[in-house]
């Protein structure tokens, strides 16, 4: 989960999120180079005498055509690589359906027989000591570690968005439409997210909690949960 004064990403818990963080660092480095150049040009403009003796400037025009093209190529190639990586369709080990309601999420494990449950936020008044305010839910989404999970996201009433930042997942939940996303939790842990599309009065109070656990624990959980 995020800290109180956090500006950067949360620690990556999936390979896609690691790639996204690498690309983010790369984009910021390119941004730093461009900002340095712009700051230098700004300082020059402030200190140089103004003159209008330039008639034509073929060389500078060549430079400021080729340089932006090079910058775009430096950014576009890794970006497209990750974009296609995110859309790869591998055989998922588990399929999970996330349905957004006002104002809670419901989940269906269609691989198992009638495994469905609702996930409501735990109100602050009922929150046990040491738990996270506005983030904890009564029923977490349990997934096995290091297994490809496909999530089909939809909504029952208005627009919602199923987002878990540390897994690098954010998918809009649109009524009447099924959106597909996938992730792979690299390590056991609990990953928090919040609804990311304005959906009414309690939009801020319908969090998402994904708990990644070893396969044996997941099987125990799925067999114990009453349908």
């Amino acid at each position: 989960m995020a800290n109180h004064s956090q500006f950067g990403f949360q620690d990556a818990s999936s390979p896609i999120m690691e790639e996204l963080m690498q690309f983010h660092d790369h984009a910021l480095m390119v941004a730093l180079a461009i900002c340095s150049l712009v700051l230098y040009l700004l300082a020059l403009m402030l200190t140089e005498k103004l003159s209008s003796s330039t008639v034509d400037a073929q060389e500078i025009e060549l430079v400021w055509t080729i340089l932006p093209a090079a910058v775009l190529i430096m950014l576009a190639l890794p970006s497209l690589r990750i974009l296609y990586m995110m859309d790869e369709v591998n055989e998922p080990d588990l399929t999970l359906k996330a349905i957004g309601h006002q104002w809670y999420w419901s989940y269906e494990y269609t691989d198992f027989k009638d495994l469905t449950f609702d996930s409501y936020m735990i109100p602050t008044s009922d929150l046990p000591l040491g738990h996270f305010r506005l983030l904890e839910v009564d029923h977490r989404v349990i997934v096995p570690t290091e297994s490809k999970v496909r999530v089909i996201v939809t909504a029952d009433d208005v627009l919602h968005s199923w987002a878990v930042p540390s897994l690098g997942v954010k998918t809009d939940a649109i009524p009447g439409r099924l959106n597909q996303t996938s992730f792979l939790a690299s390590r056991p842990g609990v990953y928090y997210g919040q609804c990311s599309e304005i959906c009414g009065a309690n939009h801020s109070f319908m969090p998402i909690v994904v708990e990644s656990t070893p396969l044996a624990n997941f099987e125990n959980w799925s067999s114990l949960l009453p349908s």
């Binding site: 950067g8 480095m29 941004a31 200190t47």
Partner: protein, 163 residues
């Protein structure tokens, strides 16, 4: 209150260049900026010295290897066009040669920084791939060691059959 846990967040100690690039926590960022600064200094100063009228004299002095040649060189530069020295010290008026040296320095900073960045990130990506392969290999070894799928077992078996 006595049992309050104090968590030291390492990311609170970040240093953000121009307010957005965290050079402490981003891999390769610190080295890229440092090498870029060094490259900028070398290229800017190198351009300034290379385009100096007293370059030949500098070469001659180096050839002679005089002990006090450095002081002679300073005296020569000082007796030269003094406004060039003045413009070196961040004045508001930049002469042509100094301005060009500044341009080369900034270009050198950007090129060296980005060049080292690509080199370092490429090596980092290779290292991460090797780490993943190693993790996968260790996991497979734990799973298959001693079983009929163990490749080492097949190798030992073939050695025994050869002897």
């Amino acid at each position: 209150m006595a049992n309050q846990l104090v968590i030291l967040n390492v990311y609170d100690m970040s240093f953000k260049l121009l307010g957005f690039l965290d050079v402490k926590n981003v891999p390769c960022a610190r080295e890229s900026v440092l090498y870029g600064s060094l490259g900028s200094l070398v290229m800017g100063l190198g351009h300034f010295l290379a385009t100096s009228k007293y370059l030949l004299l500098l070469g001659f002095l180096y050839y002679l290897q005089e002990k006090n040649s450095f002081y002679l060189l300073l005296g020569v530069i000082n007796n030269g066009k003094s406004y060039e020295l003045f413009s070196l010290s961040f004045s508001f008026f930049l002469s042509g040669r100094v301005r060009r040296s500044y341009d080369v320095a900034v270009g050198g900073f950007i090129c060296t920084m980005l060049g080292y960045w690509f080199y370092c990130r490429f090596n980092l990506a290779q290292q991460r791939i090797r780490q993943r392969m190693l993790q996968e290999g260790m996991k497979n070894r734990i799973l298959y060691e001693g079983s009929y799928l163990d490749p080492e077992k097949e190798q030992i078996g073939s050695e025994r059959s050869d002897s």
